[in-house]
């Protein structure tokens, strides 16, 4: 944990769990997937939350009670960090480093970030692909064995990029799962695909039919969060994910 970011525990936190991350990003894929996971997995309850002066001065109200915008839900197998507000570029490093350090202390067996990768002409694509990148070669191999394509070359930008680099540095097993999605519009279909990818890799399964049936409702509700996320994505130069990389060998 860093001095600037405190993780306050409300309940006993399980050890050896898979730690998932769902943060606002392209298509809000991670947040939609994480919210769905919470609503479908009945025993996932809030076990901890982030307190930090780096967060915007806001409280998220649920049933009239205040909550931190970044909370961690858990049951005996899963820890899930979700943010209900976009994480600003300046705070990504301290927040992600604190979460990784906390997960490491809780002996999380794998850290997995659920997110999207934007594609052009998304509305013409029928079957969305899910890609993965990992913090080590063994994990990459195990993902490939489960028929998930590897994101071999390119850039990833945002909290998931920091998570992957930091975990590689600390020799912690970590994955980023990226479903093809819209850049600027909430994408429940992509969230369903990333959850299907998660199920193939980890066995953490949820029924995604509600996510698809309520697609229009989710898109309407997620509009304002998407708009604020767009502003942060622009600041962190998210479009670099479209760039053709130059590799010097």
């Amino acid at each position: 944990m860093t001095e600037e970011v405190e993780i306050i525990e409300k309940k006993q936190v399980p050890s050896d769990a898979v730690m998932l991350f769902g943060f606002p990003d392209v298509g809000l894929v991670g947040v939609i997937a994480a919210s769905h996971l919470i609503s479908e997995t009945k025993d996932l309850e809030e076990v901890a939350y982030i307190d930090s002066k780096l967060l915007p001065p806001l409280a998220v109200l649920h049933e009239g009670l205040p909550y931190s915008p970044i909370r961690i839900f858990g049951n005996k197998n899963v820890l899930l960090a979700i943010s209900e507000t976009p994480i600003s570029t300046e705070t990504i490093y301290p927040i992600m480093n604190a979460l990784i350090e906390w997960g490491r202390n809780k002996k999380a067996k794998t850290m997995i970030s659920l997110t999207g990768i934007p594609i052009q002409e998304r509305q013409d694509v029928q079957e969305l692909k899910v890609f993965a990148a990992a913090s080590n070669t063994e994990l990459l191999k195990s993902v490939q064995d489960k028929n998930v394509e590897i994101l071999k070359e390119g850039y990833i930008v945002g909290p998931q990029a920091i998570m992957l680099r930091r975990c590689a540095q600390l020799d912690l097993p970590a994955l980023v799962l990226l479903a093809q999605c819209y850049f600027n519009y909430p994408d429940p279909e992509a969230a369903a695909e990333v959850l299907n990818g998660l199920a193939r890799i980890t066995g953490i399964k949820v029924d995604v039919s509600q996510l698809l049936e309520k697609g229009e409702e989710i898109r309407l509700k997620a509009r304002d969060v998407m708009k604020r996320t767009q502003q942060e994505l622009s600041k962190m130069k998210k479009t670099q994910e479209y760039d053709i990389p130059l590799y010097i060998t």
Partner: protein, 147 residues
């Protein structure tokens, strides 16, 4: 002894313009910071995006619950489009999880400025999976011949 490095004239000019640009962005953000809905008009502002290619401008608009046949695109002044679409059902604030406001929405409405000159009369419109796509051919602009 001072360690302050002398800055070149171009550094100072660059910094000056960067500061102005930053201030403009902040002002723009302040001016555009408003609710994404209009309670009186019962309208919701949709998310939208603009891409400029060498030959056309592509505007996309996210219109969940919109009825395709009600989509209306009207060129207002020069390079401004007004987009409207009725929703298949009325949506109340409490259906969006907000219980402290009263009101309902039945239409999407927004105005979008096109950044380069286009032929609005030649626009092509597509509607798929609740996403409206408007393709506007760009007007040919003056080009400088290479000597």
């Amino acid at each position: 002894m001072s360690t302050k490095r002398k800055r070149s004239f171009s550094d100072i000019v660059d910094e000056y313009f960067e500061n102005i640009e930053e201030m403009m962005e902040q002002m723009q953000a302040m001016l555009t910071e408003k609710p994404s809905w209009n309670q009186k008009a019962c309208t919701i502002e949709p998310l939208r995006d603009i891409v400029v290619t060498p030959t056309e401008v592509i505007v996309t608009v996210d219109l969940p619950y919109a009825e395709e046949k009600t989509v209306k695109i009207k060129p207002l002044e020069k390079n401004v489009l007004e987009i409207r679409a009725k929703m298949k059902k009325k949506v109340k604030f409490n259906e969006l999880g907000i219980t402290h406001r009263k009101g309902e929405f039945q239409e999407f409405h927004c105005q979008t400025r096109i950044p380069v000159p286009v032929h609005t009369k030649k626009m092509k419109i597509l509607f798929k999976k609740g996403i409206l796509k408007i393709c506007l051919p760009r007007k040919e602009e003056f080009t400088i011949p290479i000597e």
